[in-house]
């Protein structure tokens, strides 16, 4: 590429491009909003690098660590809660350091667009003594990836690139560069550095402390930490997307823009604070920067006027800092539009059966968590990836086997492969009598259809032997493992009744591919006959978005939405719903 080229890029695409340009050779990840598109974009460079979907974030991180030890630049990417799963290797690789540069991309979700909590990855990074870079637009996302690898190798440390949903899913202009050729590091055995047992780790801990102190001092001169002096009445310390809100709301204010948010450049901050009349710290989520700055005896204004919840905006900053009355209109009070399972979703069929049998479900993380929402309202609990099976087990141990006779655990195929299988092994080992339903739709659905170890296809598009979930459950030693078509509601009802009644651990695998995969061609749509409709509401119970009530109480089916799954037809006792072939 001889001349520079600018293109529009999603933040996540820019991160992938940055990894490519930085000479990354290995990448591993587990899908999770808002990080998924990083790997999906990285795969376009597969001639120059290797990338994979790993079963979970811990494995992905360890894959990247191994690649770094072998001497190449490596990365892993995940959403914020994935960092918890990966915390075990992260805390210790901080002691080990790197050979080839090692970067973890962690995507936080202020506002919880698609997450179960609003945790701040900077907290984890501080605890693990790992430096954190935070870009504020797509161009920086790409540039900071390259910077992260430089810092990683120079300071012998893993580096976290922290993003948020707004950065990950915003597009901006990015200037493309060529890929850097980074020669592989020669492997040299170094047991004292890479085998973390007490005697070695004690020495490494000292090195970690020293490294952090050097980084703190050196980062005062890093170009990614930038002072923009304008009017000195208001000074702001900001990083990431909030920096953009500050520039929009307070165009005349002086800003210390932090590219590295851990460790913080103390001297730079002290000097900046002296130059401005009032110092504000604008950071989404937890007051990490603020608490550190206050601990140095510097007066500042932060969370007393800014929330720890959700996303910020320029209007919010205008109101909080300038006390401006923006005379905004209030939003109309109108019905919500919560997300729902798609028309033709196999989960809806399974939940219809569970509702009929008046069963409670210990839920898990995926599209099927939407079964908690009315009218299905079948999921009672959801904690984290893989937790359905183990929480059900805990309930049984607390209250006895009869207590869970009206309960099942529900978990998707990808989530089962992620961490659910560990919980199932525990249920078998510790003699659970519960019923586990694996809703196998042959994909990781919620994040936009990624493959996993049980689908038979890799991120790079290679066809590989698929792990059979049935055989996996059998190999644990579980006697009662049954596969059922998710849309065969009669058989499913019979099997669930039988298995729940047993005083033994059971697994029911409901099978039908995600309707969005379009594996099965749609051959027909369902149509309703208002003359036959008795307005009983049976077909409305599963909450299919294609079905609505007419003013006279009969039902109508929207044929642009219907995917012809026949669930409503099979529920109708009056033959008021029929198929219309396409």
């Amino acid at each position: 590429m001889s001349e520079s080229k600018k293109v529009m890029m999603l933040g996540n695409a820019a991160i992938a491009r940055g990894a490519y340009e930085a000479g990354v050779k290995v990448s591993a990840a587990y899908p999770g909003t808002p990080s998924t598109e990083i790997s999906e974009n990285l795969v376009q460079y597969k001639d120059d690098l290797y990338c994979e979907w790993s079963p979970n974030e811990k494995v992905a991180t360890e894959v990247a660590i191994g690649a770094s030890m072998a001497g190449v630049r490596a990365m892993c990417s995940m959403k914020h809660v994935g960092v918890n799963v990966a915390a075990d290797p992260l805390y210790t690789v901080s002691y080990i350091g790197v050979s080839g540069g090692l970067v973890m991309v962690a995507a936080d979700d202020p506002g919880m667009y698609s997450s179960q909590n609003e945790q701040d990855t900077r907290m984890v990074a501080r605890a693990a003594h790992v430096p954190v870079l935070e870009p504020s637009d797509s161009q920086e996302a790409k540039d900071f990836m390259k910077e992260a690898f430089e810092i990683s190798e120079k300071y012998d440390t893993p580096v976290i690139l922290r993003t948020t949903t707004r950065l990950a899913h915003s597009q901006g202009m990015v200037e493309l560069c060529d890929r850097i050729d980074v020669p592989d590091k020669t492997y040299e055995r170094d047991i004292a550095k890479r085998v973390m047992m007490p005697a070695m780790a004690k020495k490494r801990h000292l090195i970690v402390e020293d490294r952090e102190a050097r980084l703190e001092a050196d980062s005062c001169d890093f170009s990614i930490n930038r002072v923009e002096m304008r009017d000195t009445k208001i000074g702001v310390i900001a990083s990431g997307i909030p920096y953009q809100y500050v520039r929009e709301a307070l165009p005349d204010a002086s800003v210390l823009k932090l590219g590295m948010v851990n460790p913080l450049p103390r001297k730079l901050i002290e000097d900046f604070a002296k130059k401005v009349d009032r110092l504000y710290i604008v950071e989404e989520l937890d007051p990490l920067t603020e608490l550190q700055v206050r601990s140095w005896g510097i007066e500042c204004i932060g969370k007393e006027i800014f929330t720890v919840q959700g996303e910020y905006s320029a209007n919010m900053i205008r109101q909080a800092v300038l006390n401006e009355d923006l005379a905004l209109k209030s939003p109309a009070e109108i019905p919500n539009r919560p997300p729902i399972l798609c028309p033709g979703c196999p989960h809806r069929s399974v939940y219809t059966v569970l509702n009929k049998l008046k069963l409670h479900a210990a839920g898990d993380i995926g599209c099927y968590t939407l079964g908690a929402v009315a009218p299905l309202s079948v999921i009672d609990t959801t904690v984290c990836m893989g937790s359905s099976i183990s929480t059900l087990h805990g309930m049984e141990k607390a209250k006895g086997k009869d207590y869970i006779k009206n309960w099942v655990a529900v978990i998707g195929d990808s989530t089962f492969m992620h961490t659910g299988v560990n919980s199932l092994m525990n249920s078998f080992y510790n003699q659970s009598t519960g019923t586990v339903m694996i809703l196998d739709n042959s994909t990781t659905g919620m994040t936009g259809h990624q493959d996993h170890a049980a689908t038979g296809k890799t991120l790079q598009g290679d066809i590989v032997p698929a792990i059979s979930i049935y055989n996996l459950c059998k190999s644990i030693g579980i006697k009662n493992v049954t596969e059922v078509d998710a849309f065969d509601i009669e058989t499913l009802e019979k099997v669930v009744k039988e298995e729940v009644a047993k005083d033994e651990l059971s697994v029911i695998i409901t099978k039908s591919p995600c309707v969005m995969l379009k594996q099965k061609p749609i051959t027909h749509k369902c149509v309703s006959d208002p003359d036959k409709c008795r307005k009983c509401g049976m077909c409305l119970k599963p909450g299919c978005p294609a079905i609505t009530k007419r003013d006279d109480g009969t039902i109508a089916i929207d044929d642009t939405l219907c995917n012809g799954c026949d669930l409503c037809k099979n529920l109708c006792k009056f033959e008021a719903i029929s198929d219309r072939s396409l």
Binding site: T36, Q244, N315, A332
Partner: protein, 191 residues
């Protein structure tokens, strides 16, 4: 030039992302700095979705603030109502005259508001278009979003050739012609 703020709102799965890609493409070609912000993940499953598009000489934040939208493109009536307060006092609301009942309405827990377009017209400049019917006339209901884009295009400063060039670049080859037609229908729709 002052930064212009465009919003596209609709129901997850309606194809707002393709529309925003075309918009972003034409603005980039026009030599502007462009920033866009989208919704991926859970809300894409039939929830309320919003895309922000901003263009100008220098653009900072990628979102449109309440009370600042120059053009609001709504793919559905209730979503038009949900986001109308984002419009500037002299902003333009382009609404697809289609009703999609959200689950609380289907269940009878809430009522779909009546006369949305009439009520919004009292406060804002509203252009209503039955894009789905227009798209069906062209033989492909899915291109309704590009019909709406055609209507909206009159409130932005780009030529038909610029729009068509982007459609040719972004849309899959076999759907280019029908999308260009859909755009032309939208463009010819309103005084």
């Amino acid at each position: 030039m002052e930064t212009k703020n465009i919003m596209i709102v609709g129901v997850g799965g309606q194809g707002t992302l393709l529309t925003s890609r075309i918009l972003g493409g034409v603005m980039t070609d026009g030599g502007y700095e462009v920033k866009m912000s989208e919704v991926h993940g859970m809300a894409q499953r039939g929830g309320s979705v919003v895309t922000f598009v901003r263009y100008g000489d220098e653009v900072f934040e990628p979102i449109v603030e309440e009370g600042c939208a120059d053009v609001l493109i709504a793919f559905e009536r209730l979503e038009a109502l949900r986001y109308a307060h984002y419009l500037k006092p002299d902003g333009v609301l382009i609404v697809n005259d289609q009703r999609m009942d959200p689950m609380p309405v289907v269940m009878g827990a809430a009522k779909y508001p009546e006369n949305i377009i009439e009520d919004l017209s009292k406060e804002y400049k509203v252009i209503s278009v039955d894009a789905l019917s227009e798209a069906k006339k062209l033989g492909n209901a899915q291109v309704f979003n590009v019909v709406i884009l055609g209507v909206a295009a009159k409130h932005m400063d780009f030529t038909v050739d610029q729009w068509n060039a982007v459609i040719e670049r972004i849309v899959k080859p076999k759907f280019v012609e029908i999308n260009k037609k859909a755009f032309a229908v939208g463009l010819g729709k309103e005084k």
